[in-house]
């Protein structure tokens, strides 16, 4: 190991390096790190044509690190490169007493410090139910399903309400790579095929994109740290199941062997091609609310239907909704059985997986792994985000 004094920034070759860039291992000075990080996001945005001039763009904001850095970068690039975007922060208030206080506070600070307008939409606005009311109705069990499904749609519904043209989320490269692995492990070919898409929901729904598709989590943390950005470490709303826990560890181990692995996995995901004869679920729209759905009714409408009719377990478990009666029958049968069979286990995991994906939007989960879910469930405590990051030489 050379002494710190001897190492110069590989980019400007003038200043002393203070950072070992996680993605490449290059020694860089702080300024050059900022420059290259920002430039990569800019390239991602322009080369993928994420926006058009004059568009109104909702930045999904949780107050967590990813969305905080995203908001900061979006504003910076919008000004630097004259994107001509009308940016605003979009947060969702699930209506859980106390739960959002800190994160909304953090989002408000983002608003004030960065000068980006903030819009908060509430569950009662969007669904007629607050999470607290849902918990009162169905008890503590299974409400993570509600969190997940409602959250996913909340963003779209909120953006629609606020007349946004596009939504951007803070999904980073690590999240996407992890999802690729999960989908392989679960054999979910449909999700595998689309999980690396940088833009989703272009038909019908408001297009969502991921400007951090190629940004490493470690670099986002570094960026926030050196820029002294003010963010809230969101509590995790998802308890990692065995499978995802393994996949995450595997990814971290791979990254340790070869740092480019994260990008390589995303590249693999992008270059997969599914056989034409494999039937993928057709994406239609919900007949009730118009949201994208592979079933006649979208998941949220099935859940709402259940809530309103006092059958809260409706829709929990396997995705369904086209035939309510049949589905209720199935549920009854299923509840009789113990959920010990592998199949049952897998369905449960599938559900959690969906939840997890939705949570990402809110910056939870990959942050400091918090202690409990919004509904009060305990979750595993995993290590903090800064582990394994060598900030300095």
């Amino acid at each position: 190991m050379a002494s710190a004094k001897g190492i110069f920034c590989e980019s400007c070759k003038e200043k002393r390096a203070s950072i070992k860039r996680p993605k490449t291992g290059q020694p860089l000075c702080q300024e050059c790190f900022f420059a290259v990080f920002e430039e990569e996001v800019h390239q991602t945005i322009t080369q993928n044509g994420l926006f058009n001039k004059g568009e109104r763009v909702a930045i999904a904001a949780s107050g967590g690190k990813d969305s905080t850095v995203l908001a900061y970068i979006m504003k910076l690039l919008n000004e630097r490169h004259h994107y001509g975007l009308d940016l605003f922060l979009l947060s969702v208030d699930e209506g859980i007493t106390g739960y959002r206080d800190d994160s909304l506070e953090s989002v408000r600070r983002n608003r004030d410090q960065m000068g980006i307008p903030l819009q908060i939409v509430s569950y009662s606005q969007l669904y007629g139910w607050t999470m607290d009311a849902i918990v009162r109705q169905i008890g503590m069990k299974n409400n993570c399903t509600f969190c997940g499904v409602f959250r996913r749609q909340a963003l779209d519904r909120g953006a629609l309400l606020l007349k946004a043209d596009k939504i951007v989320t803070g999904h980073n490269a690590d999240d996407i790579a992890e999802t690729v692995l999960m989908n392989v492990l679960r054999g979910d070919i449909a999700r595998l095929q689309r999980c690396t898409h940088i833009i989703t929901g272009s038909d019908g729904a408001i297009p969502r994109s991921k400007p951090f598709k190629y940004s490493y989590e470690k670099e986002i943390v570094m960026y926030a740290y050196f820029k002294k950005l003010d963010y809230f470490s969101t509590e995790c709303v998802y308890s990692p199941n065995a499978y995802r826990g393994h996949a995450r560890t595997y990814l971290k181990d791979l990254e340790a062997i070869r740092p480019s692995t994260i990008i390589d996995i995303i590249y693999s995901g992008d270059s997969l091609s599914v056989k034409a004869e494999i039937k993928l679920p057709v994406q239609g729209t919900c007949s009730r609310c118009g949201y994208i759905s592979s079933q006649e009714l979208c998941k949220a409408c099935v859940l709402l239907e259940g809530l309103n009719r006092g059958l809260p377990r409706l829709g929990i478990g396997k995705a369904n909704g086209s035939n309510l009666k049949e589905h209720i029958k199935k549920l009854q049968l299923k509840e009789e059985r113990e959920r010990e069979s592998l199949r049952g286990e897998k369905e449960g995991e599938l559900e959690e997986e969906r939840v997890k994906e939705d949570q990402l939007v809110y910056g939870g989960c990959k942050e400091e792994r918090g202690l409990k879910c919004s509904c009060g469930h305990k979750t595993d405590t995993l290590s903090l985000q800064t582990e394994n990051i060598s900030l300095e030489f």
């Binding site: 993605k23 490449t24 290259v36 430039e39 990569e40 390239q43 991602t44 080369q47 690729v180 692995l181 392989v184 492990l185 679960r186 054999g187 070919i189 595998l192 190629y214 065995a242 499978y243 393994h246 595997y250 181990d253 791979l254 062997i257 070869r258 740092p259 480019s260 692995t261 990008i263 390589d264 996995i265 590249y267 693999s268 995901g269 992008d270 270059s271 997969l272 091609s273 599914v274 056989k275 034409a276 494999i278 592998l342 897998k346």
Partner: protein, 418 residues
């Protein structure tokens, strides 16, 4: 944990699920079960054999790729999977087989001792052991050495090895190819191979290189000496699951169908994987029930100079540990490979990587991937994108680029056309 190459992955055989002593065969419902297959089905000896043979045959049969009487190269490493493959082929060709197989196998063994840094004594005894097994089958058997990839892909009959333990090999078939003979003063293949591997820093790169060279050599031998267009290999479901995941981790997602499908037709010579439906546990059951000896050619031997884990090794232990918790892991991963195809871009690319011979496309933005360094020879390799994946990553560590160059040049006349 060991550093893993193809064969080693297979050595980490997971034991078959525990068999309850009083279980009855699920098929005939009368005999006592002796093993478990398809993750949970108890089988008696006869029904297991029937199931195994049937599945093996149908993997072949569906493809209808092998013509009657055709000569086919069978790559035998001595490891468990290829031992089972050899036995299945032997049984299938025997007179008492219900439906006889119709092709003529030629067995080939690759001595990879140089790469593993084996002492010549050990190399010889391995060769002798393997040759013994091949000789018992009465099939024509040959051996070659991995370094032959540099020197014209010569082969020697295994009878030489049995007689003289591999020393003083006389090359029977090798009427030396004018294009590939070693001109005077040039480095011997053995030295080149050693230098090439020494120059690869990471274990991942070494293993990746080994796999590419092995493939190249087999293809060259099949085409040059046996004039056959088909090679059978022992890849099983577990190994292929590991490879699928490992491919994804190395950016090789686009070529998964070639690397894990039944038929790998990236070159004119096809590589076929008739054992691809069987997980490690069933391979192990088959070996036990038939009391077959395999030769431990490479397990517990990492490639010398490797530091730390390789992607493939890590992936193998990941899959094995997951499999022991979730018994459907391998079959789930494996099924994914059946749903994938080579993308249109790759099918029509018209270009291929000179090292792994996989088709390449060139349409990626290098800006986003600023960790990419592309220079010199590496530009030729696996530019499945200008993003440095696959072989380009492998070659990045090569200090002796000239050796790589030699290798690429040497083989450019061979089988590089798609």
């Amino acid at each position: 944990m060991c550093s893993v190459n193809e064969d080693e992955v297979q050595e980490v055989i997971s034991s078959p699920p525990p068999l309850n002593l009083d279980q009855v065969c699920m098929k005939c419902n009368s005999e006592k079960a002796v093993t478990i297959a398809r993750t949970k089905d108890p089988f008696c000896r006869a029904c297991f054999d029937q199931y195994f043979t049937h599945r093996f045959r149908s993997t072949f049969g569906k493809s209808r790729l092998i013509r009657q009487g055709e000569e086919v190269l069978l790559a035998f490493s001595g490891g468990q999977s290829s031992r089972v493959l050899l036995h299945l082929v032997q049984e299938g060709l025997s007179e008492h087989a219900v439906k006889r197989l119709r092709f003529t196998p030629i067995i080939i063994y690759i001595d990879e001792g140089v790469v593993y840094g084996y002492a010549s004594e050990r190399q010889k005894s391995l060769l002798k052991e393997v040759s013994g097994i091949i000789a018992q089958t009465q099939f024509p058997g040959y051996f070659t050495k991995l370094e032959e990839v540099f020197t014209g892909a010569r082969v020697w009959p295994i009878s030489d090895a049995v007689l003289s333990a591999g020393s003083e090999q006389r090359s029977k078939l090798a009427a030396p190819d004018p294009t590939s003979s070693i001109s005077q003063g040039e480095m011997p293949g053995e030295v080149k191979l050693k230098q090439l591997f020494d120059s690869l820093k990471s274990s991942t790169a070494k293993e990746d290189m080994l796999q590419s060279l092995r493939r190249q050599l087999l293809v060259d031998i099949a085409a040059k000496y046996f004039n056959t267009g088909k090679i059978l290999v022992g890849d099983n479901a577990t190994r292929l699951s590991v490879r699928l995941l490992g491919n994804i981790a190395q950016g090789r997602g686009g070529t998964i169908p070639l690397d894990t499908g039944f038929c790998d037709n990236r070159s004119d010579v096809m590589v076929l994987r008739p054992l691809r439906e069987f997980p490690d546990s069933e391979i192990a059951s088959y070996l036990t029930l038939h009391q077959l000896q395999s030769v431990d050619a490479s397990s517990d031997h990492s490639l010398p100079g490797s530091s730390g884990h390789s992607i493939e090794g890590l992936t193998a232990s990941f899959v094995h540990s997951l499999q022991s918790n979730f018994s459907s892991t391998v079959s789930t991963i494996f099924r994914t490979s059946d749903k994938l195809q080579l993308s249109e871009d790759l099918v029509h690319s018209g270009q291929c990587c000179p090292l792994c011979q996989a088709p390449c496309e060139e349409s990626f933005n290098e800006e986003v991937f600023s960790h990419v360094s592309t220079s010199g020879n590496n530009k030729l390799l696996c530019y499945v994108s200008s993003h440095s994946i696959g072989c380009r990553l492998t070659a990045r560590g090569t200090v002796h680029e000239n050796i790589l160059e030699l290798l690429l040049k040497d083989d450019s006349g061979g089988s590089n056309e798609l």
